[in-house]
Symmetry: C2
Subunit: 338 residues, 2 copies
């Protein structure tokens, strides 16, 4: 049995769900993969920095009972990782869309110490994908971020493992749950604010829902998909972004009534010159569209390519447990050499 | 650069498409995976048994110009594999639904010699899954069959790599292209026979289309999905099968006219006692159904599970090139230790 140590930054919705999953599935992971996964460190602004190289008791953590740690310090990350004897840093700190910090610094500290970096945080993916990937390669470890785009819906593992050699030339998707909830409720005649509240209740809205509403959460995901799957080198301000804040309520209701409801659609296309162009905007999703009929809590993508001419993947009822599962998929992946 | 040798049985639609893919993507495979894939043997009833451990010229094979071989002999498989110095046996012989032969014997001969076995043939999967998997394990190699279910649509690689730990408790899908073509054309008022001809023209009908029409092609796929993904131990006659031959043409047209067209739906469910039950039958696929809106040449599956509550995967416009790509995915997988 291989004992492997996880150091976890952030113990919010997703971090807590990950602890619960490790507790629930620990025996299965030992049986099927020969891996005994322990959490040897927890760090957050609220908790501080806790490290125990013998492993923190998952059951106790799952009940929310976390031992008091040393004071939180971004600069203390390296020493903390060493005290944790971490094999994998699990980075779940809140999104900083402007700089991707301190998440990028945390991941850099891990990778340069030969510790795998797994994150559900879009910030480091959009701001430092190439740097962190190169740093991981140079140190013989991996930088992975499956759940930063669509929770556990397979996107990056899908192309890496199931669709080798393939580069889609067009990707279209619904990658923001909050706007789907808002637009669905508005289509039923309810208010924008009711939609926001429902998305927050289900734990899918960003801490600051304006990132969802104004399209930047989706735009960040678009950058990640384009740069990872399509060999592009987009930055956030290369994406043409229109949010849903200015939509007319009557127009939203009308589109719903004719069966072509508005959704915040992300589109990435390689044009005739080989350039990759990306946009996020409210668009009708009519019958016949591969994204038609998706539910409130669904995320989905349609890929057009050469080896796989058209592929639709849709994940239903995605909640924080599924984000945590996506993180666990990456943890198992890096420890299995994926 | 790792030079690896493929021995290929069968050079029909899929085998020829595989040769073309290896020719088209050889440089990319060398660049991205450090693998130099050669075909060192071709065997079929028509061609006989050709072996050249230095590699047969792909361009010449792709043009259909295959050197004359020794006489075909099922018993000669072991000696032929050795003459090919095969790393992977690519088994693409025609389906034998009753016994899975001689494909199972071919794969057994490879696996027991420490040669990986990859097949697009459902026969050995449905008749000898456990035996061949155990034999592969005992010899340190792999038995893989991604494209036996839905061409390159990720199914087994998806669960193995992207959704570890997960066992769906319900799977529902359209896994037979021929019946979708027939039912779509009948819905438009065309005849059953026109549908069969179109499916044959597109290269998706089984050599004997009665296996498609009577539901047994789908039933074989159901057995594979249940046994691989759901830990079941079904045999073909455990599946409750109703084909489309007896359908009333008026009923097919009526269902199409109300937007709930009939399709041959495969369903696998784990019941309350933990038993897995499977059926294949024509059923309406209405709006709101994850399988609604699928096109003529699409195959798709919807999985309900615990870690991933609902997942739909649909592949569009799947033709023999996509079956060959699924085979290539498996070849790259086994050579990369997947």
């Amino acid at each position: 049995m291989d004992v492997r140590n996880l150091a976890v930054i952030g113990l919010g919705n997703v971090g807590s769900a990950l602890v619960a999953l490790l507790e629930e599935r620990g025996q299965q992971i030992r049986d099927e993969y020969g891996l005994d996964l322990r959490i040897t460190g927890i760090m957050s602004r609220r908790i501080g920095m806790v490290a125990d190289p013998d492993g923190l008791p998952l059951r106790v953590l799952a009940e929310g009972d976390v031992p008091e740690g040393e004071p939180y310090s971004v600069d203390g990350i390296g020493a903390w990782l060493e005290r944790c004897r971490a094999d994998v840093l699990v980075e779940l700190s809140p999104l900083d869309i402007e700089q991707g910090e301190p998440a990028t610094s945390f991941l850099r500290a891990a990778l340069e110490r030969g510790v795998h970096g797994v994150t559900a945080n879009k910030g480091p993916v959009v701001h430092a994908l190439r740097e962190l990937t190169a740093l991981a390669d140079a140190n013989g470890v991996r930088f992975r971020f499956e759940s930063a785009t669509a929770d556990c819906l397979p996107v990056y593992t899908l192309y890496r493992e199931s669709l080798p050699l393939e580069r889609p030339h067009r990707v279209r998707g619904l990658v923001n749950g909050t706007t789907s909830v808002i637009l669905e409720l508005m289509g039923l005649g309810r208010s924008f604010d009711e939609g926001v509240r429902l998305a927050q209740e289900r734990g899918i809205a960003e801490a600051d829902p304006s990132l969802d509403i104004d399209g930047f959460d989706a735009a960040v995901k678009v950058v990640a998909i384009a740069n990872v799957l399509m060999d592009a080198d987009l930055r956030l301000d290369d994406v043409d972004v229109t949010g849903i804040r200015a939509l007319d309520a009557g127009a939203v209701r009308y589109q719903a009534s004719i069966g072509a409801p508005l959704r915040l659609v992300a589109t990435i296309e390689r044009d005739g010159d080989g350039d990759v162009r990306a946009r996020v905007a409210p668009e009708p999703v009519a019958a016949g569209d591969p994204l038609h009929g998706m539910g409130l809590l669904d995320l989905g993508l349609h890929f057009d390519g050469d080896l796989m001419p058209g592929l639709t993947v849709i994940g239903r009822d995605l909640e924080p447990r599924q984000t945590a599962y996506g993180v666990l998929v990456d943890i198992l992946g890096v420890l299995r050499g994926r």
